[in-house]
């Protein structure tokens, strides 16, 4: 199972800070975890692909969530300049 060190987590959290703030404005929380392993044919280093999970808070606006491609584009841009990429984005149930 892939893990991240504290300094690595700080890099990811810093890169995602603005995205987190934007999502919080609509009542959502952003969590991330390293993908357990890269795809067999992938050159991506293990642990550098992230699974990003969007969780709805109690005040979340159900209709306000950005379309998934928009969120993926934002995440890719925010993570540019770090060793990390977005593997997948998991939305709250019902989306």
């Amino acid at each position: 199972m892939a893990t991240t060190t504290e300094p690595e987590a700080q890099v990811i959290d810093a890169a995602l800070a603005d995205f987190r703030q934007m999502m919080a404005s609509d009542g959502y929380r952003v969590l991330w975890a390293p993908d357990p392993a890269p795809a067999p044919d992938s050159a991506t280093e293990a642990g550098t692909r992230l699974t990003v999970t969007i969780e709805a808070g109690p005040e979340a606006c159900a209709d306000c969530l950005s379309p998934t491609p928009v969120m993926e584009a934002i995440l890719q841009k925010q993570l540019a300049g770090t060793p990390y990429t977005v593997g997948s984005v998991t939305l709250p149930s019902g989306h």
Partner: protein, 181 residues
């Protein structure tokens, strides 16, 4: 009986091209027909009305017509788009103050530009990223739109007038409008 429901792609995939050309700018706004596209978010109508008043006072525009989307999170429907293109010389669309509606507001502006109508899209600065990402997805990464100070929904009518006045320099820049000395 089976009925069919039309689904609208919130990412506007059907609109995607590599066209990054803005529509022709009019120079002067005097006498032009302005369309205001209300996306139904709180205070969008009042903000747009205030912008219409500013455009009247500063540029002597010919007419202002308010149009309303039926849902804030998806792009403007083709029928309404065509109506606005037919009846207006430029359009201002607001307000993107959430993730989905800011993306859709920016997409609406790009759609109008690609149909020959100068357009100003207004989002709140908290959702600037969502608008920029949509512009990039549309193949128009440098698309110029306005970010108003967040929030919009909780402002009073007077505060919205002030917000509209603050936005006018950006509106004029995007429309390439000549400003009277």
């Amino acid at each position: 009986m089976t009925t069919m429901e039309v689904l609208i792609d919130p990412t506007g995939a059907s609109e995607r091209t590599s066209d990054m050309t803005l529509s022709l700018r009019p120079g002067t706004l005097a006498g032009l027909r302005v369309g205001l596209l209300d996306n139904t978010k709180p205070n969008a109508t009042t903000l747009l009305e205030a912008l219409g008043d500013e455009l009247r006072q500063r540029h002597g525009i010919g007419s202002v017509t308010m149009y309303t989307k039926d849902y804030f999170g998806t792009p403007v429907k083709d029928e309404l788009r065509d109506e606005i293109v037919r009846e207006c010389d430029l359009v201002v669309t607001a307000v993107g103050d959430c993730g989905s509606c800011s993306a859709a507001t920016v997409l609406d502006g790009i759609i109008f530009e690609r149909h020959g109508l100068p357009a100003v899209s207004i989002v709140s600065d908290s959702f600037l990223m969502s608008g920029q990402a949509m512009a990039s997805l549309q193949g128009f990464p440098g698309y110029d739109f306005l970010a108003a100070t967040h929030p919009i929904a909780s402002l009073s009518a007077e505060e919205l007038k002030n917000r509209a006045a603050e936005l006018m320099a950006g509106v004029e820049r995007i429309l390439g409008a000549e400003v009277a000395a």
